[in-house]
């Protein structure tokens, strides 16, 4: 039997900095895919650790859907979000359910066409991006997640390279849609960079 890693009393405990992302909306909006893409990008292309979990059971019924990504340079213990640093809300229900878990000053990315009411808006950095409409113009609402990822990118650019996200998108969407997804990503990114997301 091996007993590993007994630490001496009073030794310094490193608390690893975590960046916590939550994505929530309805099924079909690419909530799970965004989580997977972000997780893969941080893990495989940025050399960080990440844990991605998805809603399961009661939460995944009735169309509600949630995905979480915890990113850290160090070891990640608790795999779920404790206080989100970033929250992407694709529906009013999702926002109402999870807004309380967004830390003060945290980033809230939403689509104003589906999320109208943000309580205590001044507590957060709110970015409104018409992801659905933009996706629709590109080729269909199924590209909403790539638009959202693009709009998100400038907000997390200090942590991740654009190429990492592009690689992860390419690896996680159907091969025949890679090109159009990357275009959706660019469109979202441009929208955010132009300062249109308020």
């Amino acid at each position: 039997m091996s007993t590993q890693g007994s630490l001496k009393r009073g030794c310094k405990v490193e608390k690893n900095e975590r960046f916590e992302i939550r994505i929530a909306g309805f099924g079909g909006q690419g909530v799970v895919t965004i989580g997977r893409i972000l997780g893969e990008a941080f893990t495989l292309y940025e050399g960080k650790n990440s844990v991605n979990t998805q809603s399961y059971g009661p939460e995944s019924r009735g169309g509600a859907c949630r995905s979480e990504v915890v990113v850290s340079e160090g070891e990640i213990h608790y795999p779920n979000v404790r206080k989100a640093d970033l929250f992407i809300a694709f529906s009013q229900v999702a926002l109402n359910t999870y807004i309380a878990d967004l830390r003060e000053g945290g980033i809230l990315l939403l689509d104003p066409s589906s999320v109208k009411d943000v309580p205590r808006r001044d507590k957060y950095q709110v970015y409104e991006v018409p992801t659905m409409e933009m996706a629709h113009n590109i080729g269909g609402v199924k590209f909403q997640n790539s638009v959202a990822l693009g709009a998100l990118y400038p907000l997390i650019a200090h942590m991740i390279k654009e190429s990492s996200l592009r690689k992860a998108i390419s690896g996680n969407v159907p091969p025949e849609t890679v090109e159009i997804n990357l275009r959706a990503f660019e469109r979202g990114m441009r929208y955010a960079k132009e300062g249109k997301a308020k």
Binding site: L44, N52, Y78, N80
Partner: protein
């Protein structure tokens, strides 16, 4: 009777699996265990779909034929577990994955596998029970793992807590299974099964893979061969190798003779099985500890909950200076009682957070009741505890 020992010529699966190359991967827990199994040389997967273990099965259906192995979707979980017995005696390593209700259906075959000393691996992606329960995370099959099968007889069960461990502990499960000739269970929560995380795959030569000991290797000829004798773990002749093995799960003598039943033969047969595993608990079982020295209060945990427990322990040290010790059971069964008593001297409270209403709390209490003031269960059903919840229960108890 053939006088010559031979290797099976018939076994046509000579896997040269397309193993994952060394490197970093991003995989789901339910998939990582399949990669671990392939790395351990598993050739057969027989299963039946059940939520939340389906991803394992779907992934197996894709991967097994790629490496020259065979995948089959059986008619039910009973058949799946029975097929593993056939495959194992047919000379290959075999596995299945299931969840609560399916695990119940496999208990008959598990019992037969214990008695016939059949190596095989079953992964239980636990869901909440009883009954249909729900498809959410749970640790409610922990006791079924130990006592679910009919009759006495030991079991080995491991509890991974990450995607990496789904890979590592599945390899370990196969190794233990081959080494000790017994079914090995990997008890997973839906949390870990569905989790996506990095997986570091080492090169093949860094991975220890254990193969079953065979009479051919020991120079034992068919006419002298005792399928359940020679050693505490008998060398195993597979079917097709000229040893004329009569597989039995009835009380048997070392040579498989079942006609000379006596209460003494019964005792000897079953006690040997028990001793084989329980008597070697210190070789089989692993635990991990951290921050133990001088702690008044300790958390004993396993599986996904150990990640929350670690988070809570670090929080407590940072925020209130409360020093909590950490003990994680990597192996659930056989229960490492002696080792626990070695490392836990005299403490005030032992907290046992579990995703059930307090199951491992019982063997822990049995092992440590004279070493602490109290053992406190912290249950959670259907969801992983949050660190805050575990801490609130601890503060409630010790304040």
């Amino acid at each position: 009777m053939p006088k010559k020992a031979r290797r099976s010529e018939a076994a046509t699966i000579s896997p040269e699996p397309h193993f994952l190359k060394p490197g970093k991967y991003y995989l789901q827990g339910n998939q990582a265990c399949i990669e671990g199994a392939l790395m351990a040389g598993c050739c057969v997967y027989a299963g039946y779909p059940i939520t939340p273990a389906v991803e394992t099965m779907e992934y197996a259906s894709k991967r097994f034929p790629q490496v020259g192995g065979r995948f089959i979707q059986m008619e039910d979980e009973i058949a799946s577990a029975c097929a593993l017995i056939g495959s194992s005696w047919g000379g290959v390593k075999a596995m299945t994955a299931t969840s609560g209700p399916g695990f119940s259906l496999m208990q008959e075959a598990i019992s037969i596998a214990i008695m016939s000393e059949t190596p095989m691996v079953i992964i239980d992606i636990q869901r909440a029970g009883p009954g249909q329960g729900y498809i959410t995370a749970s640790q409610q099959d922990i006791m079924q793992a130990r006592w679910g099968h009919h009759g006495d007889g030991p079991i080995i069960a491991l509890a991974p807590s990450s995607v990496q461990e789904m890979f590592d502990l599945t390899i370990e499960a196969f190794n233990l299974s081959e080494r000790w000739r017994t079914p090995v269970l990997v008890m997973v929560e839906e949390t870990v099964g569905h989790m996506w995380e990095s997986l570091i795959v080492p090169s093949r030569d860094e991975i220890e893979v254990i193969e079953r000991k065979k009479p051919q290797d020991l120079g034992i000829m068919p006419q002298d061969y005792l399928p359940w004798g020679h050693d505490i773990v008998a060398p195993m002749a597979n079917w097709g190798e000229g040893y004329n093995v009569n597989f039995v799960a009835l009380v048997h003598l070392e040579d498989g003779n079942i006609s000379r039943y006596s209460p003494q033969a019964n005792y000897h047969c079953v006690e040997r099985l028990q001793n084989k595993i329980e008597g070697n608990v210190n070789q089989i079982a692993r635990i991990e500890t951290k921050f133990l020295e001088g702690c008044k209060h300790i958390i004993v945990c396993y599986g996904a909950v150990s990640r929350t427990a670690m988070e809570a322990i670090i929080d407590a040290r940072e925020m209130s200076g409360l020093e909590l010790g950490y003990v994680r059971l990597v192996t659930l069964w056989p229960f490492p009682e002696e080792k626990l008593r070695e490392i836990i001297g005299d403490v005030d409270t032992i907290f046992v957070p579990e995703m059930n209403l307090g199951m491992m709390k019982h063997p822990i209490t049995e092992a440590l009741r004279d070493r602490c003031r109290k053992v406190v269960s912290i249950p959670s059903l259907g969801i992983l505890h949050s660190p805050e919840y575990i801490l609130s229960k601890i503060y409630e108890e010790i304040s």
